[in-house]
């Protein structure tokens, strides 16, 4: 499947199965079962599972359109996370169970026996959570956890606490960087969501008339929309960098670039979108809020821009590379210098 065919078919699937009404219903506690079934039937959940294990055997680079499309419709179920969890399990020789699965990193110092994850993305619509703690991952059923809602309007996140895990819980040695995987997955979803926010804003700027002309004719509005276009283009490129891997998982440095740049874009993109929309953008009825509320949450998921800036800065300082450009060419784009070029 070429990039575009894949992107078009996943876009069509998600636009059809997850219009804004479905997002609203699930946010308000409606069942995600039907939506999930449609997505599960599509087979895309096994995009990153190797072919000999029954999957599509795509690389993360090839699967990026699926991740971004989830963000474009602010999908209220953890389809993007499920892809990565299934990719990880298959790579570890474990057959993934059916059902929506998210992933999280256990809080430090969660207690002797309990496993505590204080912010789990899409916790309320997941059957499973792959929890990394220390050198191991466990696949835990959400139903067995005590769920603590953050009490945030429309949020699908929650804190989850499990008692001592049953002896037969799936336990796998971990060598993956789940912060980086989360960074990559949410950078892609944020880029997708910001692209949609941009489309909404551009359309509104053309449609809304004040002082006898569309507001998009005012230079002040034009310049704000142009700045937004820049941040969205940068975010989309950042997501591409983050997912530029031939395996199922990202390079941590690339994921860091991706998440920090997309998180950095969120305040500006959401602020301009709301400014251009005026009061209508503040209403529950208009779709903009579905995106901007989620973008503010996702900006923090698996680390905000400052967390990743610090990690990147540390890597630069420790690298002892004589020049920043050298670091960028030889380390950030190291993979595209080797594996990409051999295939072209």
């Amino acid at each position: 499947m070429t990039d575009n065919v894949l992107a078009d078919s996943i876009d069509a699937l998600l636009e059809d199965s997850c219009p804004a009404e479905v997002v609203r219903a699930i946010e308000q506690g409606g069942s995600p079962a039907r939506l999930w079934q449609t997505l599960a039937d599509s087979g895309f959940a096994d995009a990153l599972v190797p072919e000999d294990a029954g999957g599509a055997g795509l690389s993360l680079r090839d699967a990026l359109p699926i991740l971004s499309a989830c963000g474009r419709v602010v999908l209220p179920v953890p389809f993007a996370q499920t892809m990565l969890v299934r990719g990880f399990l298959a790579a570890s020789g474990v057959t993934p169970p059916p059902g929506p699965a998210t992933f999280a990193i256990a809080d430090a110092g969660g207690g002797e026996h309990d496993i505590v994850c204080s912010r789990v993305t899409h916790a309320t619509t997941s059957d499973w959570v792959l929890v990394q703690s220390g050198t191991h991952c466990r696949l835990l059923p959400t139903a067995a956890a005590r769920l603590e809602s953050p009490g945030v309007h429309g949020s699908l996140e929650a804190g989850l606490t499990w008692g001592p895990p049953p002896a037969d819980a799936i336990r796998i040695a971990n060598d993956a960087d789940w912060h980086a995987i989360g960074a990559c997955v949410f950078a892609a979803q944020m880029a997708g969501s910001m692209s949609r926010v941009f489309d909404l804003t551009l359309r509104y700027a053309n449609d809304r008339v004040q002082f006898g002309r569309s507001i998009g004719k005012f230079q002040a509005i034009q310049h704000q929309v142009s700045v937004m276009a820049e941040h969205v283009a940068a975010s989309r490129m950042a997501a591409e960098i983050g997912a530029d891997s031939t395996s199922w998982q990202p390079s941590p440095l690339a994921a860091a670039i991706a998440k920090s740049r997309t998180s950095e874009a969120v305040p500006t993109v959401t602020a301009i979108a709301h400014a251009v929309h005026g009061a209508i953008g503040i209403t529950a009825e208009y779709d903009l809020q579905l995106h901007t509320r989620r973008l503010h949450e996702w900006r923090l998921a698996f680390g905000s821009e400052s967390y990743w800036h610090d990690r990147i800065g540390r890597a630069v300082v420790e690298s002892r590379d004589a020049s920043t450009a050298g670091f960028i060419v030889d380390r950030v784009f190291a993979s595209s210098r080797t594996d990409r070029t051999t295939t072209e």
Partner: protein, 383 residues
């Protein structure tokens, strides 16, 4: 929406140039202090340009029959990226290599190509851009300098300003009016290759705020131009200039102008043990932004190499790139001042002062921020 900009990679045969270039630059620039290297693409050294010419690194994308390297735009990307990373003094040949030679190749006659391009590739012929005038900055179509037909050529009268390197270049490519008036806007404009040694031309450098001399006033007092000074089509100057500006706006110099300052500061952070989290996070912020900008710039290079003309995308990258270039000295200054009693090297202080003083120019030359945002808005269909 703006077209997708797919992540591109430099092909291996072009990437292979990098090792050789790095080797050359590490020797050629050994011992050059940071504040000199921080001049980046504003540093002028004719002998250095000739040395690059001898290695075949000028006009690398131009056809071999005119003395060029016959390579892809990616080869030029690698060269330019390394020149900027090291702070090599590239100003002398910069404009000729980036835009004048490609323009002559595209619009010039066979004899103009044979006459002008080989010396550009040798680093012996430097060019400047004669667009701006005292009354015509952003509103470029209002230029008043005029060329009138004579029996054997043209007579040129008027004035250009802000012409970078005019006093140390051999030629200017000037945008002038050949028919109609300023009210005719885009119609009636023509480009000429003006030999700056001709009688009737007066060039005066204008000192800049940092004490440097690069841009100039250029006066044309009834200058006799031969017929073959005209490049391209009479009356087609506007569309030629628009195509030229796409080359001017998308290159790596639109993100790396402040990078020598950044490297100088990082070196001092390392020496101090880089124990301060705020400074480290600032390094990360700048590197993250530069990485994304580099990928965008490379993606535009890929489009140019396929013969596309990504004018709006180039405007977008230049606007974002210059913002980061301007943010770099501002934020580094604050980081240094956070510990007022810690020592800072004189070299870093001087590099920081130079970049801080010149930074406003990054978002003026090649089209101001407001003009670029207007172009993006037009590309989005808002105008």
């Amino acid at each position: 929406m703006i077209d997708a900009l797919p992540l591109a990679a430099v092909p291996p045969e072009d990437e292979a140039l990098r090792t050789e270039v790095r080797q050359f630059l590490s020797e050629a620039l050994a011992g050059v202090p940071a504040e000199i290297r921080a001049h980046s693409w504003m540093g002028f050294d004719a002998e250095f340009s000739r040395a690059l010419g001898r290695r075949g690194w000028l006009g690398i994308t131009l056809p071999k029959e005119y003395g060029g390297g016959g390579r892809s735009p990616f080869a030029r990307f690698v060269l330019v990226e390394e020149f900027l990373a090291w702070g090599a003094p590239v100003s002398a040949h910069w404009i000729a290599d980036r835009q004048s030679a490609p323009l002559i190749l595209r619009y010039g006659t066979e004899s103009q190509k044979h006459f002008h391009i080989p010396p550009i590739c040798r680093g012996e012929s430097f060019f400047c851009i004669g667009m701006s005038e005292p009354g015509s900055g952003s509103d470029l179509a209002s230029v008043k300098t005029r060329a009138t037909r004579t029996s054997d050529g043209w007579r040129l009268s008027g004035q250009k300003i802000w012409t970078t390197n005019a006093y140390r270049s051999q030629y200017m490519i000037a945008l002038v009016r050949t028919s109609g008036t300023a009210e005719d806007r885009h119609r009636g404009l023509t480009q000429f290759i003006v030999d700056l040694s001709l009688p009737g031309i007066t060039i005066r450098p204008i000192e800049d705020l940092a004490g440097g001399r690069h841009f100039c006033e250029v006066f044309f007092d009834d200058v006799a131009l031969p017929d073959d000074a005209l490049v391209g089509q009479e009356g087609e100057g506007w569309s030629q200039v628009t195509a030229e500006l796409a080359f001017e706006r998308s290159g790596p110099e639109r993100l790396y102008s402040s990078v020598v300052l950044l490297d100088t500061w990082i070196a001092e952070l390392r020496a101090r043990g880089a124990d301060d989290r705020d400074s480290r996070a600032l390094v990360g912020r700048l590197v993250a932004n530069l990485s994304v900008l580099r990928a965008l710039s490379l993606s535009i290079t890929a489009k140019l190499s396929r013969g596309e003309s990504p004018v709006v995308e180039a405007a977008l990258v230049k606007d974002m790139g210059t913002e980061i270039e301007q943010l770099t000295p501002t934020l580094i200054a604050d980081a240094i001042g956070r510990t007022p009693d810690a020592p800072v090297s004189a070299s870093l202080v001087r590099a920081l002062a130079f970049v801080t003083q010149m930074a406003p120019s990054f978002s003026l030359r090649g089209g101001t921020r407001e003009i670029l945002r207007g172009m993006i808005a037009r590309g989005l269909g808002l105008r």
